[in-house]
Subunit: 443 residues, 3 copies
């Protein structure tokens, strides 16, 4: 383990025993924990027939499955294809982008099912799961994917798994505090998913900052077809956002409204984003995908801040969305105009959060005994807690990830797949080496 740390010397990035050991141990733990704790919820198990009669339902079609499963599959595609391919824009990091996203998300959803289950679906010592739990697990993992985008290319798969473990845990704790203790209204997962996810990711990035990476700017670029692969991810995230926002809304009009609302908002986002993209580029050209991780962050946050429905969670049910039912579906002005600029400073992000905050006062809320101003105080507390968890948690996790035991790559090997992946020695790579003659052909 006493390996030299100074730059230029190869770090030990071999995963042969470390990765399998971590994966298999964790999988054994998962199996034990699932065996002990997890059971099918009432609408997924054999007692559904009795349950159905108790709930005065007349048909199998009223099983929650049919209300949510199509949206669930769309969200699933967003997490694995959307986020995975979004990050394939890097020249030689496509395998890492798709593959590590796959690995961490698959691990994360198992852990999220348990963590969120203990906090929200725990009855008589068992976690009862149904399709809504699957969606919430995917949501939780979505915040990890956002953070992954911020440290893309600089971490080993084990670091990503460790980060996922901690981030999912903190996410579930934060969610519990906000929804169940503070009874905060969290429209569209604004605080629990987006504020927490983005600032957690940014904090981890800051801690893991490597000053020498500025040298290897060329590897941080894209090639023509890698940008097209990234467009697959972008489009799926965009197209399925109505499903993301409506997936856990209440049955009936609330889901319907959430989908329409998001559809309209997103269409407007495209035009404003293109406008700013062209305006901010020196020659007025459009930029295919944002290339800096920061920009990615902002892009998500802004997209996700589109005025969505209130999410249906334990502590914050969504009667307000009924009250505002007949309003125009398009108060997107503030959202899109302010947020879409790729290089606008984060200050604007904060403004937008404040905007949401002010907007939150409008909701007189389901927690009926609170006056609007009291509820406003609780909303502020919710933001404060989310930011605290993000900064403190991010700093802690960043420090853990800096330990020299996780097998991360040396600076000169960042953004390269062949550290962790079998990469075919192909024509393209021959061409690549033709133009980089000082780099040996086989790693």
């Amino acid at each position: 383990m006493e390996r030299p740390r100074h730059q230029g010397m190869a770090k030990n990035t071999c995963m042969r025993w470390r990765l399998p050991l971590v994966c298999l141990l964790w999988e054994v733990a998962m199996i034990v924990l699932f065996g002990v704790f997890v059971r099918f919820g009432p609408e997924a198990d054999a007692h559904w027939e009795e349950e159905k009669h108790q709930m005065n339902l007349t048909s199998d079609i009223e099983n929650d499955f049919y209300f949510r499963y199509p949206s669930f599959q769309d969200v699933h595609v967003m997490i694995f294809v959307g986020f995975g391919f979004l990050m394939t824009f890097l020249k030689r990091y496509g395998f890492g982008a798709v593959g590590f996203n796959f690995l961490l998300a698959a691990f994360g959803i198992q852990w999220a099912l348990l963590m969120q289950g203990w906090f929200h679906s725990f009855q008589n010592g068992k976690i009862l799961i149904g399709v809504e739990n699957l969606i919430n697990a995917d949501f939780c993992v979505g915040s990890v994917c956002v953070a992954f985008g911020a440290i893309l290319g600089k971490t080993s798969p084990i670091q990503l798994l460790v980060m996922t473990l901690f981030q999912v845990t903190l996410f579930a704790v934060n969610e519990y505090i906000l929804l169940n203790l503070l009874h905060v209204k969290d429209a569209g997962g604004s605080m629990t998913i987006h504020t927490f996810g983005a600032y957690f990711g940014l904090t981890v990035t800051r801690v893991l900052y490597r000053p020498n990476l500025e040298q290897s700017k060329d590897k941080q670029g894209s090639v023509y077809h890698s940008d097209l692969f990234a467009m697959i991810g972008t489009l799926y995230l965009w197209m399925y956002w109505p499903s993301f926002n409506s997936a856990i809304s209440e049955h009936g009009d609330a889901q319907h409204r959430a989908a329409i609302n998001t559809y309209c908002s997103l269409a407007a986002c495209v035009l404003t984003t293109m406008a700013f993209s062209s305006m901010l580029q020196k020659k007025g050209k459009l930029d295919m995908v944002s290339r800096e991780p920061r920009a990615l962050e902002q892009c998500f946050v802004s997209l996700q801040h589109t005025p969505g429905p209130l999410s249906k969670r334990d502590g914050a049910r969504e009667e307000p969305s009924r009250e505002q039912g007949n309003k125009a579906p398009l108060p997107w002005l503030c959202t899109t105009f302010l947020h879409q600029g790729r290089s606008l400073p984060e200050a604007i992000l904060t403004i937008s959060i404040l905007c949401r905050f002010i907007k939150a006062f409008d909701f007189t809320g389901s927690y009926k005994t609170r006056t609007p101003s009291v509820q406003g105080g609780f909303q502020a507390a919710g933001i404060f807690v989310s930011l605290l968890m993000a900064f403190a948690g991010g700093a802690l996790v960043g420090a853990i990830l800096k330990l020299p035991i996780w097998g991360d790559a040396a600076d000169e090997n960042c953004f390269e797949d062949d550290i962790y992946w079998e990469v075919p020695e192909d024509e393209e790579s021959d061409v690549y080496h033709m133009h980089n003659p000082d780099k040996p052909a086989s790693p």
Copy 2:
């Protein structure tokens, strides 16, 4: 504005102020118009509970949302991934294909919601929207995507937005005349979407014809991976066609039947298309994607002429499809055999339209007071109006697009992304320039 027009001189293609200005102004207009006119429809707003009782519905699952949302998302994927990637076959125009399709479709659906809303969903001064409106907006934009295919590589983004504005408007007017005034039966959007869309596109292409483009044949070719990207688009258009055809059919058996019908017809199309593709090629090889815009047109038109259900619209409800309920689901013979040949002259297209026309006589129709022959006359009038709108509208829009203010590229820059997009300077492009030494590496 007095810039030289003769070939060889660079045109001013800089979008820096024009594109943002157009996008932002239109977006402001959209926001105002949506704020004034658009409201949630009865099944999407808070009155749904009352509505539900009035309609004698017992469950939230009977909200139209659950009948149509899965199909809607499939149609959405067809428009953005299907059409977007279908056109990525060109060597160096993948960004334009996906990106401009994204831009025009996102703008188009907003304008289509308004236009179709004013004509079909207008009550008490408000447009009431629900999931069916979203699907119809996507359909309308589909006809713009078809036209985009016909002028691919030769237009600036502003021209595309202008074309979208006009085409959506004409589409909605044509639809109104046919369905609400003539009470024409428009099976599968045959006249409103496909006949109108294809001939409008062809007319615009003819007006924008550039004789010198024959020289740059090489840039109009594909490369190996660009053809694979195009296959993503092709497959999604093919796979989700049953959703396209069933999305706005009536609830229950009609949607069921439309999906089955399309599934079977499409499977047959693949074999006949492959057969003709092999037969018409000199060495009997198969062609991955049709490379000429014309062929694309035809392909769509033929695919879309598959015997689908009658679309459910105001003026033309679809009882006939119930009457023909127990027939075999596969009268595809004429459709597939005639239409799939890539280079068959357009005459065949017209024949096929006549076929449909004759078929239309079978439908005694919901407009019950009409005799079949009277209805046949109205059908003929419908085709006539659609063609008239397509030719006259296409000529007008083509003339507008020829104005020298839209920033379109010079002939020698057509089919190249780097006019309007930041293109990475990558290995591939180095290789590209290696083989094109007379072209400077940086634009």
Copy 3:
């Protein structure tokens, strides 16, 4: 027909008349057979209104269409995009992978609708089809896609169509014997789809084995972007597996449970697969996609052996899954640990099949008069019949495919698209030929 067979001489691979003839003749046959036999089922035809009342259903939403259509579309994507792109990993065989998969699947689903219809949906001389038939046809074709993976790159399109014709036929016969005669329980299509499909494919591969192909190892490799295309296929197969397993389960809790079960199992599979992938590679690197057809086979079989629901078919309805309703959803241990190793010998496959076999004893079954041990005997008979059909059928079909009339490629042309496809002469291929100077540029 007396053409020389020794290596080095070009075989006649021209498809110009053979392929169109086969396609068009078969399509004519399909049209006649569909015209004679196929009709819409009760829930898809105009009698649905009466039917609905007879079945005491109150709403159109209780049409089977709404229970299954979203899952059907997911399965459809798995067959065409999932399997199609999964096999694009080969350097120069992407067109063949996607295109031939498209061709054979489109033909296969038509023939499967007929074959499965005659065996399972035949009433009064007519095949009555609904959405469940479409799903079953896609399932049946899935087993052909698995077999296609095993002979990828070595066959002509006509051979693939012939294989599809026979395999679909044998599949339907095997399914009929197992489900309707032996009343075997076939959890998740374990025997009918996976055991039969995999061993049929392996047998055909063995018969078509070409010893000289070892020389052209280089063409059997991948390039960087071809591996990324393959990841699209992998992800779609993985993401939509819950739909695959729940698509034809019983309404309500059974579908719900199947989806949850598969979701959890699949997440675990990712970690164990990554672990073994890293462990078995000399430098501990991860492998993007399995490159040997054998590994592909195993991968499918193992994935598909995930403890899914019992499929709902005539002979084997699924009360057992209700009995085990409240169990933990995750008995995946055996499945994932044993199966995921890429190079583990097939022996393990057999063990796993034995595991399932033993597990099958637990199910006391719907066929209520049988004791568990008698049912166990029938289960064993089911496996025996499936293997027999696979080996004997595979040998027969392999022998037929060896006839010198199908236009397959010579050894030195295997794994190359330009035998059967118009391939663009692009930069990449120039580069390719730069590195293969002995091969002429134009075929």
